[in-house]
Point group: D2
Chain length 294, copies 4
């Protein structure tokens, strides 16, 4: 159903995400490297954490006219720059469109929001497969023309079913996973396969109300604001690096049912914002915290 995708001028850029111990001149070194090789910088974000003494940088430049061939850029950067500065870095190329898998259960609001953006061409992404532990949302997948794989999980078969999911990820060449209100806890083993590559939405303002039934807990505590939190999944439940959070006001008039209703809009917008930032290669993780470039 990708019928309404707007034409967008394709960029041909490289994106570097870097962090390393801070010292004088790192920024000048990197920008000189790009300038000398005729790399026209179109985005540059950088800052230094004075407490941790870490330098962070995201730089994007046009590959057209760049002196170093695309398939050699990483090697040259490592040899000439990164290795000398103990850099931790990643490179991405805008021509390679990321492939995302969606994991869902029964609630459709996040799924619809993502598929609408996908269909409307808001994002540069491919979604080859939707995985679920329930058949409920199969019709939605079908109408949007996306493969739907039912992988039922029980306490007994979890290990083998997750193995099956990992195979599906490989088969579909998945770059990252989005848990769009997937109501299964992923095993530590599964998570290890996708470090900082699984984005979850938790329906509370973490770290408040981690775990099950956060809206019930929020109502019981009598909070005046509810929230939603998108984070990278780590082996510890609801404790991974936070990407984005959102909140909305509530009052004594809001029963649990109404918190759930209000929360749906929060969840879908917060999750989609996080996915957008991830797709833009604007997120860097350091010590369980994210740096999200503007």
């Amino acid at each position: 159903m990708k019928t309404i995708k707007p034409l967008r001028e394709k960029k041909n850029t490289a994106i570097l995400l870097i962090h390393c111990p801070d010292k004088q001149g790192i920024l000048a070194t990197v920008t000189e490297f790009l300038n000398k090789n005729n790399g026209n910088i179109i985005y540059l974000g950088q800052h230094v954490d004075r407490v941790e003494k870490i330098f962070y940088m995201r730089v994007e430049w046009e590959l057209k006219g760049f002196a170093i061939p695309t398939d050699k850029v990483g090697e040259y950067f490592e040899t000439l720059i990164a290795s000398k500065l103990q850099m931790n870095w990643k490179i991405y190329f805008s021509v390679s469109i990321p492939r995302m898998a969606l994991f869902v259960s029964k609630m459709p609001h996040c799924l619809f929001d993502i598929l609408a953006r996908y269909t409307a061409g808001e994002w540069d992404v491919e979604i080859p497969v939707i995985i679920s532990n329930h058949p409920t949302l199969e019709p939605v997948a079908r109408r949007f023309g996306i493969d739907f794989e039912l992988v039922k999980i029980t306490a007994e078969n979890k290990r083998e079913q997750e193995q099956k999911e990992i195979e599906l990820m490989k088969k579909h060449k998945i770059d990252f996973i989005v848990l769009a209100r997937y109501m299964q806890i992923l095993s530590e083993e599964f998570v290890k396969n996708f470090p900082n590559k699984i984005i979850n939405i938790h329906h509370s303002f973490l770290p408040a109300f981690a775990g099950a039934k956060p809206y019930h807990a929020a109502h019981a505590r009598g909070v005046k604001i509810i929230g939603a939190t998108s984070h990278y999944v780590t082996s510890e439940l609801d404790a991974g690096p936070i990407i984005e959070q959102g909140v909305t006001r509530c009052s004594h008039l809001d029963k649990v049912e109404n918190l759930i209703r209000k929360g749906r809009d929060l969840e879908k917008i917060v999750l989609s914002n996080a996915v957008y930032k991830h797709l833009q290669r604007k997120i860097l993780v350091y010590k369980n915290r994210t740096v999200v470039f503007n």
Copy 2:
């Protein structure tokens, strides 16, 4: 595609929306009327505008066991109560599901958001028809299984085409219209047919940036916050009673294109919130302002 609609216990209630000149005892009079006839009140909102001296009320009660037959409730209320207190009132019954028409042009984000809620069963509404002046979104309508009517508008044919739209509204027994980023200005004549029954979303924080290209205007003015406004359409452009507004922060880094991107999420959430309130019969209009009950 209404395949995933959850079962919800059907309510059988009546809803009264009232405004009238304030005087002592109105509230007691209405609640006594309901109590004496065994109407179990499940919602009551009321307040007095001390400046205008107007009394506003929304009351909802269960019809099961109510002494007055449903088809007589209005008549009895008018005779026994409303006529004596110069009340302006409307009654709605929860069993009658409102029928909504969607008007769209080329942008799909609001349409998708509404159809997702519809399909997910978030709202008690029927959407028998989508009308557009462009064929762009027909595939979306089709996939969601909703009639799509292409009504192309030009300066020359506007009068007759709007007449055709009015006929379509009648044919589909439409109760109210939602302009989901419909990029045509409706004529005064068309609007007159649907007083406080056409909900629009304008992509600015009204009254700032009324009219065309508000994001360009917002960028030119250098605002630090952008907004979206949902309102009932009146004959004066972007000047009808405001139902709901939302805002989001922006900065000097946001070019027009990015304001448009951020604005899409605002627009769809603000519009859907307004439609939800309308469907709940929680909105009352008085002198170009809305009262929106909790």
Copy 3:
């Protein structure tokens, strides 16, 4: 220094706060009682918690012309209405200005915000005394012309010093206490003397980051939004009924020092909003949750 207090027309009203088991006709009963005795209602807020089956109400009416003498209103209401409906109720009269004590330590921002409102005549309140465990803010108290009592607390003398504070509360006829960043934990015994009469501001979005150093904890967790929470103090630390919460966005660029800076504004506004609602007699507590009327 109450030199700039604006003249405001004094109201002469009574305010009833009520909660009781729900049943048909409570609202009509109360409004009839007021109407028959010529009490002109100027505010009425009420709702029913359908889950707990509790009726909540706040009603304010003019005493001028009211048939029952002011000093008998409570007695009549109890006899004729409340006792029959198992009501839990409180009555307040607008002519009696509440007397508030401020407890502070070293940080002045909440103190200044409250004293500014007091001096500007924003609130109908008297502040006869400021109590502190540090001398730091004495000059502030002095300039605003308010008694400052230094009550140093140590682990050893806590019991007797709190007793001294209780004496000061009695001496100054204090109605309620505001902890304006008071950095001492009050004992259960002290708290018992002022049930739902001690308002605290906690510098986090409770229940996240209860206890000490919440901004450090928020930074360590990498949250994208920080908050502040005003609540009534109970014997359990940071667990009392929440009155008001506020939030503000932060990012990876915000070190702890900057969270503290941003948090100051949040804290003072959230605390002052809570105090304002309390002064307006708009807060009712039921089962560790607040009902805050509009």
Copy 4:
């Protein structure tokens, strides 16, 4: 009354604010200049407006150990860098504390908020004088130990009184002016003397409701959100470059009086945020828009 000012480690830094036509290598050129002269960069913010093709930068570095004497930094920078790149630049030194004048009328909330921050040592600023066209707030100035100058303005004497104000600015060596709800329109002539050096707070979400009585206008229009806008004053009323905006929700229940009450908190926080950014030398103006660095 600067009795509670906390000791803060004094920084000895230089701050450069730059904008110029974009071309390759500007960033590298500037950072090399600082690195080679042993200037330890502690803040660097920069971006390029791709549409306008303008490069913006704010850089702050430690002067200790910097090879160029402080009083020569500007000259060297102009000669070696700026003149070659058509830069528009300004330099500030952290040791020179800005001197601010406050203009007020009758409303004290913004004044109190600023004086509280001043007294608490939140800001590195001197406030030698408060100017007003009314005597109302003189006691406030006095209690905070600041000179108060009454300069009454009428239609007839405006020219000469503004001249007197300009003299006062010179006498007190004022760097910038803050209009803390000053209810006089400054003449074009006065404004010309202080380009981008007069900060105003307007009590609406500009450009909506420019001019007089914005809360009345907001109420009449029935908006659901009110705002406040801080901007640099230019000769066109309420049309100068926007520094900061804030909003808060309202409803049909809020009469004008209540909008005014809610607005006070907005106004004071938005104004103080703008002043803080100005004091931090984080604001750059280009074509009636501000760039506000993080």
